[in-house]
């Protein structure tokens, strides 16, 4: 179990990578009742090769002790957002392994950037808002599976949230964290397109699917039970 209480150092706002052509108008909004978004083709992130997850999220209200999960699998892989006392935390649940990262840097009611980067061995860098919170070292028995981005069917609790610019890379993007966090402004990820397998921009604005702008085919998001699109974005 990992407990860390880092100070929060705000980064200077940097130029948006890729120039002025990049625009971000919409995020995906879940209504906290039964909304979900399922990946058309489930994703398995290997234990033996490098990868990175990157997501912007915002909760509409304080957690109040409730748990909310990002990147759910049908099994036991997920990130759980929660709170305990004065601190929010992110629980990394990779199979039977659980790690809790408590941080004063985790004010989930503001747009928050989470990045989790695996080096291909047994090291996982955990970033919140561009800050390396901790490096976890473990060896899971299986890869990290992703079936839902947020919310899921069944009796499990779902929760309201805004999600934007969800990305998965097939390499370790730790060296690019400053550019990806971009001073708190979701930026253009196309400079990393060679390794960008999944990129859900949420720019559709309506409809029941979100296109994968990454390189993996047949991996669009199927929206379940009509989540909506919000003009609140990390900008």
């Amino acid at each position: 179990m990992t407990f860390i209480l880092p100070s929060f150092g705000a980064s200077a706002i940097s130029a948006v990578p890729g120039g002025g052509a990049f625009t971000n108008t919409y995020s995906l909004e879940y209504d906290a009742t039964d909304d979900g978004a399922r990946v058309n083709t489930p994703i398995t992130l290997s234990t033996s090769s490098a990868w990175t997850m990157s997501v912007w999220f915002k909760m509409p209200s304080t957690l109040g002790g409730a748990d909310r999960s990002l990147f759910n699998s049908t099994g036991s892989d997920y990130f759980r957002l929660g709170s305990f006392g004065a601190y929010n935390y992110v629980e990394v649940h990779d199979g039977s392994l659980r790690y809790y990262v408590y941080s004063s840097n985790a004010t989930f009611t503001n747009w928050t950037h989470l990045m989790y980067a695996h080096n291909g061995s047994n090291s996982y860098n955990f970033y919140l808002n561009g800050v390396l919170e901790t490096t976890l070292t473990y060896t899971p028995s299986n890869g990290f599976d992703i079936d839902w981005l947020y919310g899921r069917s069944g009796t499990f609790p779902t929760a309201g949230a805004l999600l934007d610019e969800v990305a998965i890379f097939d390499n370790d993007q730790s060296s690019n964290i400053s550019a990806i966090y971009n001073g708190g402004v979701a930026g253009d990820l196309s400079p990393y397109s060679a390794n960008l397998t999944h990129w859900y921009r949420m720019e559709e604005g309506s409809g029941s699917t979100v296109a994968n702008s990454g390189s993996t085919s047949s991996s669009d998001l199927n929206l379940q039970n009509t989540p909506t699109f919000s003009t609140s974005v990390p900008a």
């Binding site: 209504d31 009742t33 039964d34 069917s153 009796t155 499990f156 779902t158 039970n225």
Partner: protein, 75 residues
């Protein structure tokens, strides 16, 4: 504005998914014991839901926060 209606699980077969915002019977959220589910809609009340109690979004959130709907162990 979205409206929410709780129905018995036995009534799922009567739901017209063209008139509600849920995608299909497979994506419905059920109560912990599986006896109830709910649907949501915007605009006019679908005919098959007429006469049933309608809840606002905030009211539905309160209901779903209870033990009847939320398993304490779920992700």
């Amino acid at each position: 504005m979205r409206n929410y209606v709780i129905i018995d699980a036995s009534e799922v077969s009567s739901v017209d998914f063209n008139q509600v915002l849920e995608t299909s019977a497979e994506t419905l959220r059920f109560s912990v014991d599986g006896s109830k589910t709910f649907v949501k809609f915007e605009g006019d009340t679908p005919s098959f839901l007429e006469g049933k109690t309608q809840y606002s979004h905030s009211e539905m959130l309160e209901i779903l926060a209870g033990e009847e709907w939320t398993s304490p162990d779920g992700p």
